[in-house]
Symmetry: D2
Subunit: 231 residues, 4 copies
């Protein structure tokens, strides 16, 4: 059981009726519902003071999930740096879907994290390419998501430590949809599926992946990270 | 300019009229034609003495391309071992298509190298996922191969050092179609496209990949590989 | 709690008084003692029928530790293949010290697994280079082993997925002493320390590493590994 | 032949007589001398306008070497970002020694890039652990550097794509001294040896490594990096 914080931009849901219809309490509430049976869950959103990510909140977070889209730039650099440092100390970090462009993910990767996209509501098949990975525990070999926004390669990220999922899109594209990294002591899992107007986070496979990812990204004890001058 | 040896099982072409119609002089001849302008090319086939892979031939080979399918088991273990040792010394190795099941590739990978397949002649799109890799030099972001045999994940190989291509298949599958490895001093590039009844090796993109792969897999000077007892 | 099988060649201990003095009940007994509080442990040795590694034994093994040295060649290829297949299915595999040259490790790596060595009883410092790795849990930043056999680079293995330890040797050499791999669904951890005439497996840090490695290498549920023809 | 730009902070040499005695024309001049026979070389320093790294200079640079130490913080963020973007486009980047803490390297890695150090002038042995890597071309299996500043693990960087060198230090430490990364289309090689008061860049092995690194890090043609909305 991990202490999870789900961060959501929480703007679309309050501004757009179509989004509100799918996620009436916010995307974070739907994700919280997927995790609550296995983990201790709290949420945080952009418009709270310090975006809800005070030093205390981060200090007590094992795994931080992140959903952002239209307001990446409004996240304060100071908070981004605070998140990054906690990841290096060991906090897990799971950026979702459009959070490939979130500041903390870009900062941790060092690359542009750019990709191609098409918002056409066509279908996606999420394939497990690493069936031995714990994030794939209990999944079928592939899962169909009937309506999604397409993300296509090239995806400008460092070569993943482990590639867990590759997506097939009806329109002819492919995408590395589940990418594992370690940075410092922290485990990072980028997971592509998810969108504000499709009920992706209601999908049982997606919910299982989120639970698995939290378990995988949880901090472990480790050994000393001592730096600086040595006698 | 590398010294290339193209190894071909060369059975289908002599046994099956459909294959002979596509590759009248053997798949090795078509591949040789793709490489001859840039490299010194010789060929070797299964039914020659020592399968054409004498110690002298391997000693003078910079990069070995391999095409096998129905007769993997007829390749003598002694020759497989000879190939493996030359790869560890630095010879490049480029197994093609159904050669995922060739003895030298399986021996170098350590895994089963199994996959899923469907011989339906449906279309494939070969996507570059690593546009900075020299094997992708000069390619478009994706290339359509109108009729292919499908290969699908999971592909039981070690996580590639670099993943260059991912294929999209009309029938709904994906595959890691271009996988780079180093073993010892040798560079290995598994490349999926290719089939005995579709003229894949006439495709200009595929031919460019083969030329790029030979350049990439060519041996470099290195430093001493000294093993054993040390004073 | 994992079901562990410790395999030992168990020849030195019966042939050489110096070894018997250090490991009177065999190296496997000492290792078993290090693991017994946390795991279910059984042992198997070379001179038992099927080397003690029947299909039933392997089927019920979560993690197999392996210690061999002078009799690698006496291990039957059929048993090696049985071990390899169980690893691909998910069994953890932890080859120790001179088992870099064991048949199952060489078979899973595909390389020569050669290295340099000097049996001088000089000291070693085992450094954690990946303090976030669970195999380093609870360790100090480095641990001194006062008398060891030196192993030096180059070590002819595939680039590890994660490098956990690097050893410093009094005589001037370095070695990648803790190397993590995945092959199929199985996790592999090569761990260098250990010798038949030095009581390395009595060292508390080494014992902690063995316990950590068993926990890390234990199978996880995964998703289907289905291969072959697809409709 | 690559177009190389050597960037040097160039403060120590003008402020400290001991440094000036070793590198009277600046560290950049000594490095330039090591490369000039094989490459086109220009230099740039901190106190020039835009630190000598105008858009034009970077645009025409194939590989950028970087030496900084006491004034990392004086490098303008705008220039750091310009360097990072050029690396993602394909420019090679070779940070040297204390440049592990340079802004462009930290920005590209995403981690703290911290380490341990001791300025004791004790000896270092630089071991090749990847003898097949082109950066090791022509080197001996190890090279002694008689007086160096020690850098010790843990080194807080992402797991390298390839680890080429590991250093042994007389005082008992080890360090991953040659680390290869790709970010976007750019190749990055961190190389540890080098110091302002020891004539490390006069050492023939070190000079050979610098030449090899420039050749390895030079841009290749690649395929399109097209991002954004797709029809």
């Amino acid at each position: 059981m991990a202490a999870v914080t789900i961060w959501n931009e929480f703007r679309h849901e309050r501004e757009d009726d179509d989004v509100a219809a799918v996620y009436p309490d916010g995307i974070h509430a739907t994700i919280a519902d997927a995790l609550a049976a296995d983990h201790t869950v709290q949420t945080a959103t952009l418009d709270e003071p310090e975006h809800g990510l005070t030093a205390d909140v981060l200090e007590s977070t094992d795994v931080l999930l992140w959903w952002g889209h239209e307001a990446h730039d409004e996240v304060a650099d100071e908070i981004v740096e605070r998140v990054r440092e906690r990841v290096l100390e060991g906090m897990g970090f799971v950026p979702l879907h459009s959070s490939h462009y979130s500041k903390p993910f870009k900062r941790l990767m060092g690359t542009s994290c750019s990709l191609q996209y098409r918002e056409d509501g066509a279908s996606e098949r999420l394939w497990v390419v690493d069936p031995g990975h714990p994030i794939a525990d209990g999944l079928a070999e592939s899962t169909e998501l009937p309506k999604t926004e397409m993300y296509g390669e090239p995806f400008d990220v460092p070569e993943p430590d482990r590639l867990v999922f590759v997506s097939w899109f009806e329109g002819g594209e492919v995408f590395r949809s589940g990418c594992c990294y370690r940075r410092g002591n922290g485990r990072i899992f980028y997971f592509r599926p998810g969108h504000e107007t499709y009920p992706i986070y209601e999908n049982e496979t997606v919910r299982r992946v989120l639970r698995n990812a939290v378990a995988w990204a949880s901090p472990t004890e480790g050994s000393p990270r001592t730096f600086g001058k040595r006698d």
